[in-house]
Each structure stands twice: as structure tokens, then as C-alpha cells.
Symmetry: C2
Subunit: 364 residues, 2 copies
């Protein structure tokens, strides 16, 4: 849970509150109070140009009177001697993140910085968390590990240090090119390739297990890849074959797949947006009396080490997770140390054949 | 990788080094230089009593002249306004740690502190890492997640802030009672119970898969529990049935189990010290032509969520991982905020029945 975040309340409400609890006033509260934009407040706080003396004075007064980041005001307005880089992890339970967190931690450390990590659930807002952390921890930069893909210019105004989106991009956002740094695979194309593999093996009734079809994030991107692959191969998508879990959790994946299979849905293959979900789904299929891959092929996206040891081993599109972490830190440090501006990288995913996929006709 | 740690080199070597790189002088270097103990140096640095003025002056001069923690000397000798709590994770790849890290992060955050995490491999020394972090990051306290169980008083002198050992204790150490805080299960008793379950089902040829039999840590503790259970039931341990992997990794577990099974060793059950290792071992057994549980029962320790979805589901001794994280932070905060001194907690492990264990005679 990210501390603070009383974004919509007014300043008076935010500052009061139960005795002894720190309620954070956010940059949005300050902007509202002064009748200026969030980025203007950022400029004042970070002592940047292009703000009139009147506005600057008003914002600084509001910062002081509202107790904005009350315990760290010296840090916010002081010199920038911090060596802290923030890592905001959205949904830590995802085992895909473990090797990335390790690489990011090691690279930040090797470069002489300190990694400060916060973990939030997938229903919390990473940008808001990052903005609070930036001020409270006096960050030099931020890596967001997992997040939405629909940022707007206004939202990003709350972040005034360099940041990199790791494992996702801004496909649904409205930002101009070069406004953001991201390191990810092409999620839509990766899903397209996975589903095309199933189609090439003769499957036409292909179910999909996703977190959501409209989350403006990687689940929606991978769902779109699934739809495109079907349509490009002349297969009309069937909404009855799409199960939504609401999360990347194994329990939810098991329940949704069990319901799909027990409901008698007619499919010979499943595309699943994450390895961990696929492992639970395979158990659900077996528990519903469907053998994998004899009765149902399963293909996923992630490429966990673990998936090489589950039975059957999982056929999956591997993301280059360590490279993703490395490149994210490299880009961030280049920005912090002013060697370059925003950069985005799209890394290759590769098919790792397991034993969870078979031709549609193999046992027919 | 934990930065610094040039413990054995002399101060001159440590301070020089490639231009532009920070080489850390450690507290041990200072102690050596001054001909005093590490804890004396700690006392001086932390401005504590019971040090003669002469020694104090000599140590402070050595600290200054050697550039000890060169970029943070103000922090080391300054006031204690930091809100940082360190989390040293030894072997992050262990999926057992994920829910614990999450809980620890959330609890530290909720209490108004900042979690600073470092990850080290299982061959690195967590106490040395913690001592460097304590000074560089000006920590208020430390949670060690995973570590050795044989600390000595001298080693611990390098840590001058409160700390808690999470998921392990100090069974092999020489410390007086109350010198250390730890939250763990009883690893020996937990292994004993797991092996006793197998024996109760008629198994007598029981193999063990461990990281090491003599690592002065949880692998050795669990191995001892295995030996005791066999002996208490009149079964003579057979060294040929013990496979050591050198780590908690899945790849290593697969290779060791495959070698054991392919070598024709005669056993009807396996005790495995960790769930992730057991998942890989089950694959190795199957690949060697031994069905689980028909030809070989498998029981493990950890109780990962994941192990409920692998096939067969794993029978395992569950550690209360979230409670372990919660209690560790609770004890640490009590010490930091001076509500109590060192405390140790031994939590209960509980058997979770899966489908990986069957009576010895079931298919005979």
C-alpha cells in the first residue's frame, strides 16, 4: 500500500485527520488550492524557470501552510543530495517480477544508488504512489514495474524526476512520442504469435483466459493480439470462450477456467496471458476431466523458470525478463546522469516449446 | 550484490582503487588499523559510553583519515533522523520469500518508515551486507530474510541497530539467550514431522534432497530432523539416499534428483527441504520413469500457494509466511521505538495434504 494519496480531498481535510497519523497532502491538492496546474506546482517545488514570481510565492506559501509532506519539507525544498531510486511494483505476487526485481536492485546498487521499493496492488495507482514517493523519499528517479498503459500528460506532471516503465508501454495513452521511457515486449504481437501457433496446429475453437478485456493495460493488449490472430486466420471470435479473472492470481485463474470447462464450453486450446495463471488453469482443466494437451492445448506468455518444471511443461512466449530490468535501469541512469533523454525499447519475445501444446487432431 | 565489503584488505588498498569508483572501508578495517575490537569502533561511531578518550580519539581519527563511508560521513556521525529500515534478502529467487517481502514492505510503510532492500546470493554474507547498509543508508533497523544460523558475538558487533532474523534462528550460534531476535518455525521439528508422516504410511527407504548437510543453516537443521525421525523409528539412515544440491534452485534440484533416480537408488519416498525444489524433483522422478506418488511419495517444507496447483499437488509442511513477516516487523519496531528488547518467536508449521504422498504399499 502506498502511503498518503488523499488526492481528491481538499487540503484542510487532508491535513487534519486522526491524531498521530500522517495524512499526505498531494501535489494535486496544492494545485487545486492555488488554481494552477500540477506541472506549475512541480516547477515551483523543483525550482525550475518559467513561473511568475507571484505564482511561485503563492505556491510556496500553500506548500508551507498546508504542511505538504510535513515531515520531509526540508528534503523537498533542500538540495538534491539523495541517492534514492524508487521501484514501484504493481502486483508483487506475480512471480514474473522476481528476477526483474533482483536485476534492478543489483544494477541500482552497482551504480552507487539506493533502491527504495514500494509494492502496490493492481487496483492502486502507480503514478500517484510514485509522486508521493518522489517527494517523501526525495527520489532521483523511478522504475515502475507493471502499470497502466494509458497515461496522460496531466497525470505524468506529478512526477518530476526521470522514470521508466518496465514491462509495459503506453499503447493506450495520449502522450507525444518521446515523453516517456519504456522497456517491454510487444504484448499484442506476442499474443498474436502464441495464438497463431495454436491455429497452425489445427485449433479453431481457442479459448482465452485474461485478467480483463478492457483494462487499458497488458491484459487488453494481449487480448487484442488474440482477437487479431483469430480474425486474420478467418476464425470468428466467440465471446463465450473468453474468461476474465480480474487479476493475475492463480486462485482466480483456477476458478475461471474450472467454470469455463465445467460449463461445457467447446474448445480444444487455450491462450492464457500469464504463466502462473496457466499453471492453475491446467490444474482446473484436469480437475474438470480434460487432459492437457490431449483434450486441450495450453499456451501462455512469460517464460517463468518454474514453467519448465510443472507437468506438462508449459509452452510459452518468453519475455527477456533480466534484460528488461537491465535496460530499464540503464535508460533511467542515462536520464538521471543527463547522458540522454527518454528512450523506449521493445524487446523480442521467443517461443519456448513445452509439452502443453499438441496438434488439434493428435488424439481425434 | 552488496556493495563494498573489502573486509580483508588493508585501509590503504581499500581507499585507493580505480578512479571514480567508491571502495568502501569497513568497520573491520578501522578496528584492525586501531588495534581495537569491532564493537569498540561501533561504540565510538555511535557515540556510546565505555570507551576511553584516547581510544575514541584514535578511532575517530582513523575514520576521518581513511575516508570511512566517504560520501556519507555526515550521516554516520550526524543525528539519527533517517526513517530507513533495511531488508536484506539472501537468495531472492526463493518464491517462498515473495509474500514475506510484501508483508514486510507494507508493515514498514504503514509505520511511517522507508524500506531499503538489498538482495544477496546465498554465498554472500548477510551480516557484512547489513553492516555496510546500516552505515551507508543510515538504517534504524534491519530485517534479515534468510541467513546463516551460526552467528558469533563478534560478527554481530558490526550491527549497531536493532535487527530481526526472519525465517531462521541462531541454532548453531554461540550467542547468549536474548542477544538476538528471530521469527521462524522449528525447522528440525518440522522436518521430523514430515518424515514421520512418510514413516507412518509404511515408507522405510526414504531419500532426502537438501541444499547441504552441514551449512549451519536451515538445510542442516531440516536434514537433522530427517535423521532423527529415521533413527527414532528404528531406521538406519543410508548416506546413498541423501542428495545435496548446494542451493535452493530448481535446476539444481532437478539434476540431483535425476541423478539419484537414474542411479537406481532404492527408495519409495523423498523428503525435500523446500517446495520449489520438490516441484523440480517430481519432474525429475517422472522423467526417470518413477510416478509420484505411485512409485515415490514426495513431502516438502514451505507451503507455497503454487504447490496447490502443480500436479500432483504437493504435500507440504506450511510455514506461516505472512505471519512471519508481520511478527518480524512488529518486533523490530518495538526495539527501534524502545518498547522492548530482543524477542524470539517460534511459529507453528502445519501439514497441508496434497496428492504427492501415498501409503508405501498402495500399488505394491
Amino acid at each position: 500500500m502506498c502511503r498518503g494519496g488523499n488526492v481528491t480531498g481538499n487540503v484542510a481535510e487532508s491535513v487534519s485527520g486522526p491524531v498521530g497519523r500522517r495524512i499526505q497532502v498531494t501535489i494535486k491538492d496544492i494545485a487545486k488550492l492555488c488554481g494552477v496546474s500540477v506541472s506549475t506546482v512541480s516547477r515551483v517545488i523543483n525550482d525550475r524557470p518559467d513561473v511568475s514570481p507571484e505564482v511561485r510565492a503563492a505556491v510556496l506559501e500553500a506548500v508551507r501552510s498546508s504542511n505538504y509532506v510535513p515531515n520531509n519539507s526540508a528534503r523537498v525544498l533542500g538540495s538534491s543530495s539523495s541517492d534514492a531510486i524508487g521501484l514501484v511494483v504493481r502486483g508483487l505476487a506475480n512471480p514474473f517480477y522476481s528476477p526483474i526485481i533482483k536485476v534492478i536492485g543489483n544494477r541500482i546498487d552497482a551504480a552507487g544508488y539506493t533502491m527504495v521499493m514500494q509494492q502496490i496492488s493492481s487496483t492502486e495507482d502507480e503514478i500517484q504512489c510514485g509522486a508521493i514517493m518522489e517527494r517523501e523519499k526525495k527520489l532521483r528517479g523511478i522504475v515502475f514495474l507493471g502499470g497502466r498503459s494509458d497515461y496522460s500528460e496531466e497525470e505524468l506532471g506529478t512526477i518530476t524526476v526521470p522514470f521508466v516503465c518496465c514491462s509495459y508501454d503506453n499503447s493506450f495513452g495520449s502522450l507525444p512520442c518521446g515523453r516517456l521511457s519504456a522497456v517491454s515486449i510487444d504484448d499484442c504481437a506476442t499474443a498474436y504469435r502464441a495464438v497463431s501457433e495454436l491455429i497452425a496446429l489445427g485449433h479453431r475453437r481457442i479459448a482465452a483466459l485474461v485478467a480483463a478485456t478492457d483494462d487499458r493495460s497488458i491484459s487488453e493488449l494481449r487480448y487484442r493480439g488474440y482477437l487479431s490472430a483469430l480474425r486474420d486466420h478467418g476464425i470468428e471470435p466467440d465471446g463465450d470462450l473468453v474468461a476474465c479473472t480480474g487479476s493475475f492470481g492463480m486462485d482466480e485463474a483456477y476458478i475461471a477456467t474450472r467454470a469455463l470447462a465445467s460449463g461445457g464450453a467447446d474448445f480444444t486450446a487455450m491462450f492464457i496471458i500469464a504463466d502462473a495463471m496457466a499453471i492453475a488453469a491446467i490444474k482446473a482443466l484436469e480437475d474438470a476431466g480434460r487432459d492437457v494437451p490431449r483434450d486441450c492445448s495450453v499456451i501462455a506468455v512469460d517464460g517463468l523458470l518454474l514453467s519448465q518444471y510443472t507437468r506438462p511443461t508449459l509452452t510459452t512466449m518468453c519475455q527477456p525478463s533480466e534484460q528488461m530490468g537491465e535496460e530499464s535501469v540503464r535508460i533511467l541512469l542515462d536520464m538521471i546522469e543527463r547522458r540522454s533523454g527518454n528512450r523506449s525499447l521493445v524487446l523480442e519475445s521467443t517461443l519456448r516449446a513445452g509439452a502443453s501444446v499438441a496438434p488439434a487432431s493428435a488424439w481425434k
